[in-house]
Amino acid sequence: MSLRSILSGAFSWSYFVAIYVFIFLPVAVLVLFSFQDGTLPIPPFNGVTLKWYAEVFTDPKLMSALGNSLNVAFLSSLLACLLGFCAAYGLARFRLPATALQRILLTAPLTVSYLIIALGLLVLFNWAGVRLSLWTVGIGHVVINLPLCFAIIYASMGEHQKNTERAAQDLGANGIQVVLLVTAPMLMPSILAAFFLSLTFSWDEFIISFLLSRFDVTLPVEIWSLLRSGLNPKTNAIGSIVFLTSSVLLVALEIFVFRAGSGK
């Protein structure tokens, strides 16, 4: 090994480590100071306490926001997946006019920032006299997740599945049986991927939830109002919980969907 390759190797690895430190620094600080035995989540670190976690779990506002977030995320992702799957199936399996236009229409919300989607819905709901609630937040979340679900599921609909579907049809399955018993199970990895991705997007979404909710709010909105009190270990604690939840979700996605998918 020449000196040069050793040097370039050392340089690569120090760069690698430096970037990972940069990426993990804020998260590490967040989690570390959620255990801070004191009122400020900044150095010096005084010692370990679980006080702030206890405060999070006994805070009725935070807990109801957490429940709201889970509800909205679950229901809106379910609906987005269902609508996206049906649209993907319809466009991939039937000869319809203007399919390109329909695809563009269905994926168009991806290109518009959440702020603009939220503002548009706000104007519409104001005009129609619809009261803002978690339902209006959910509608917004389906709007942002539907194109994603559609695109992911549509991309995985290939010709080889078509043959299996035709075989099922020849064996006497009716249209709905084919969709439910043949197509959906074959596409399950991408349906699950779309569902989990929607779940994480909805769970984390702030601006739509902020503008389209009133009294009941989702977790990011509640955290946002916590931020007004400045640096606070309680915010660290709820932030760490959110991070843990998303990480578990991501690892689950990796193990159950992607690894299972690539193993085949």
Partner: protein, 286 residues
């Protein structure tokens, strides 16, 4: 004749699958957007929206200097973030693709994007812990011997750092997937023809991954310029970006027409970037 009727029946079945999603998108995306576009030509007269159908809200861009400034600040921050993120992410993606052993690459990537999945709001807040005047960095600097804490939080620098943190993760992912798709033959061929590592990179690898970088950079641009959270938490109130100004119109002033007009401008900027990006990609392919 019979086959035609079957075809019609088939098409009808197909519509049944597609129509719900289409209706949803039209009702809750196209229609609201049209509404917003219409409202942007209205004005607010004593807390009521009056449809005056004029360009007043757009002309304000030229009469009220803080609006134009907001647009410039937005563009400045976004371009800075995009360039810095690409420059930081590319070497990392390259190291993961080339230096990290194959079986660890996936783990390295997952680690790199793990903080990506923390709540967006919480991520900006945790940078506040690091950057604030009594935060981690200043604490360290004061210990080393700095006399006064640096003003890091509530500055444009903090906004840029927060953004770069987010987009380095995103870009590493897109650039990595581009790099591993390249056939190792390219590299081997270049080396056989006498190119050294640097030359191989500059003349072969980089041009081949440029389209992927552009797509990632475009994504960064779009997400960055439309974001309200990071500048609001980290940037403070000195140099407002366009989304902050939009939210200000909505909140304190309840001026929906102005907010709508600003949003349309924001969208036009994104569309312009999209067209430029597309044209560049076409040129590259030609």
């Amino acid at each position: 004749m019979k086959s035609a009727s079957i075809e019609i029946r088939e098409a009808r079945k197909g519509w049944c699958f597609v129509v719900p999603a289409l209706v949803w998108t039209i009702a809750f995306f196209v229609v609201p957007f049209a509404f917003m576009a219409a409202v942007s030509f209205a004005s607010r007269v004593s807390r009521q929206i009056v449809y005056t159908w004029d360009l007043g809200n757009y002309l304000n861009f030229f009469s009220k200097s803080y609006l134009l400034k907001g647009l410039f600040v937005s563009l400045e921050i976004t371009l800075m973030v995009t360039v810095i993120s690409v420059l930081l992410a590319y070497p990392l993606a390259w190291i993961i693709a080339e230096r990290v052993p194959k079986r660890w690459q996936r783990t390295a990537l997952i680690l790199a994007i793990l903080p990506f999945w923390t709540s967006y709001v919480v991520r900006s807040y945790s940078w506040l812990l690091v950057l604030s005047s009594n935060g981690v960095i200043n604490n360290l600097l004061l210990k080393i011997g700095l006399q006064e804490p640096l003003e890091l939080a509530s500055t444009t620098t903090a906004t840029v750092i927060g953004f770069v943190h987010f987009f380095v993760m995103l870009l590493t992912l897109t650039i990595y997937s581009n790099l591993v798709q390249l056939s190792p033959n390219y590299q081997r061929a270049a080396q056989d023809l006498g190119a050294n590592t640097l030359q191989t990179f500059w003349h072969v690898i980089l041009p081949l991954t440029l389209p992927g970088i552009m797509v990632g950079a475009f994504l960064t641009f779009v997400l960055c310029i439309g974001d309200y959270i990071t500048p609001q938490i980290l940037g403070g109130n000195n140099e407002l970006v366009l989304p902050q100004i939009i939210m200000l119109q909505l909140g304190r002033r309840a001026d929906i027409p102005t907010a709508a007009a600003l949003s349309i401008v924001l969208m036009l900027v994104v569309t312009l970037a999209y067209i430029l990006c597309l044209r560049w990609l076409k040129m590259e392919r030609a």
